[in-house]
Chain length 210, copies 4
């Protein structure tokens, strides 16, 4: 096993375990016939080339990689509605199988680029063949629209090596606004659906009583 | 095996095979370092309760189910950009492992509800333990935005048993317009990205030549 | 969600998590180029019909099912060599993500039927949408031969509703002996392979020194 | 995409498709409540290092690899009983989604090493992004015992670079005989189980008639 495999092996394991755990949450909601706050879950270990770039840019030595780069393991939880994000965060906070190190709310305060997401850094215990090891994992919680936009922005950022030309940057901002608008429209419908359901249930109830 | 299991078993098999085949296309693009026109692929066999509803509504007998209900098996191919849809359709038309029975373009002509997608009905051969059987499968090709909107609309349609109240219907139309707007903004960026790449490559080429 | 789904949902989740965790152990060994003590891992939740049979036979009420039936969730770890079983047990004992409630060694003392396996009952914490829940899971550790025989015996036991006719029972015992013999032959080779490797390494070392 | 990725990409795809197809056969049997002739299915693309070794040993150039090395893609179908192998072969012969190029029966005529398996070389059409491509795939059909032994033998052969010392070779032969004996004992039980079932059904029938 080379040193990269050795370094990243527990991160890969953590991603696999968290994916199974969070997909399980999704299934529990589906079986209970309630709206599931989790639309889908993805995860990845940061590619070695991206680690090297980040380490070079921030002058991090191999020995400090695990401490300094908090997204070696990343798990993304995507929701339908903005309101679902809070539900997901509550579910994460309640769990006893890992600790939360920090939280960053890029939805309340979106990044200048237009990026929106809720980030949590957790400290996750992995059982290796040499015993338990606790590692940092970044959880990202976002809506489908936020995710769509972020995927596009990420590929552009990658293509321009981080320095996106201003005109394209402005276009991205406009797309981000369109994504935000879509989230708003969806949220409005969500409230109406709930209201409609409440009225319907109330009507049924009154009929049953008569 | 009950009669539903027996009826739906080859449809389940077709969905599994088509998912593996189309995900394979995605991987081929990724390995070739080209923009992949396929973001993700999902599939499902129509739940028995939905089949019964549709059969009752359209007065279809059990014997005619397979012929009359074209979406017993459904596979969805989701793209990042509107332009990717055409690429996916071309890939599907080139394949020799099934026939295309019909195509319906709900993007050029969106449904009154606001629904947009490109549909293809294919005739797919499944090898069962009793020999080959050809069945109909519906392929839906759509962007992430179209898919997002359609998912919401489907759950509302389900909740209101197909008759969505007019005010919610109008809200859905507005959300559909927001989704359309997002697709447009993304398309504009896509062109710029391509243009930027073309310029960059041209510049590199001229430098190499000098 | 019906009461069976509700009861079994955390057991299903535990099986999925343990499969990912134990398969991860297998991968860690493979990457480290060492002989992996784990050949494959399978898991299942006990089918409702089997639960009902067992409950009827042992007169267990629905309220006591979770306490009295220890194999509602079962995970099987299959090894190539008998010697690997001890290594797997040690790995399980070292883990900090669950407790071991009891261990039963049906290899040292095989069952009268010819059944051989090492069983551990663990107490595993699952995070549900209502909080943490600790459940019992049965881990079975056995060689490929033991597993092969047990699979056959299980299907016969099922067919004869637990009462296998004596002549078939004797045939099963003979098959069990053949499986045991195969394990022994394999163990002998294993030792020779190790010895051969030791000699080879020693030879290389002496050559390097000269 | 480097040339190895490019060469092996359709082989990887063929393996994935055949695994889904053959696992589907297994599920069809399970749903029909009949004994399934397929216990499990595995598959792999030959590792580049093994391809290079074989090419060097047999003096095959890169251009002739695809024609000369027939097991670039390999799929293994493992059965419980020797008798199931024939059933699997018949299922394979009936399929219309590929052609059979040749068959080799190493069960009727086992290799001098003790190796037993039934091999079929098929010509399988893969749909690539550049159109259809037909490639060779090796299917191996064998019992659990044969598979167990072959796995051990393969790892020893690998360790001794193909030249297993005579004393270990003899040990392997003895293990192969033990595996063969286990298959025989299992076959005898299988016949008895069938006979028992036939008697039972006959008895039920006579009772129903009275």
């Amino acid at each position: 096993m080379n040193s990269w495999d050795e370094l990243l092996s527990p991160y890969k394991q953590a991603v696999e375990e968290l994916k199974v755990k969070l997909k399980g949450i999704r299934e529990q909601y589906q079986k209970s016939s309630n709206h599931t706050p989790i639309e889908f879950v993805t995860g990845r270990v940061k590619p070695v080339s991206s680690i090297l770039n980040k380490a070079a840019r921030k002058q991090i030595s191999f020995e400090h990689l695990e401490q300094e780069i908090q997204d070696l393991a990343g798990v993304r939880i995507v929701t339908q509605f903005v309101e679902d994000i809070e539900t997901v965060i509550e579910l994460i906070r309640k769990r006893t199988d890992f600790e939360i190190l920090e939280e960053r709310d890029y939805i309340l305060e979106q990044k200048p680029s237009g990026y929106r997401s809720y980030h949590l850094i957790i400290f996750y215990p992995v059982q290796t063949i040499h015993g338990e090891k606790k590692i940092q994992v970044e959880l990202q919680v976002r809506t489908l629209s936020m995710n769509f936009w972020a995927t596009i922005e990420h590929s552009l950022r990658y293509k321009y090596s981080g320095e996106i030309p201003e005109d394209i940057s402005m276009r991205l901002m406009r797309a981000s606004e369109a994504a935000f608008k879509l989230d708003e429209e969806m949220s409005i419908i969500r409230d109406e659906v709930r209201e409609a359901q409440r009225l319907l249930l109330a009507k049924h109830h009154s009929q049953d009583v008569q």
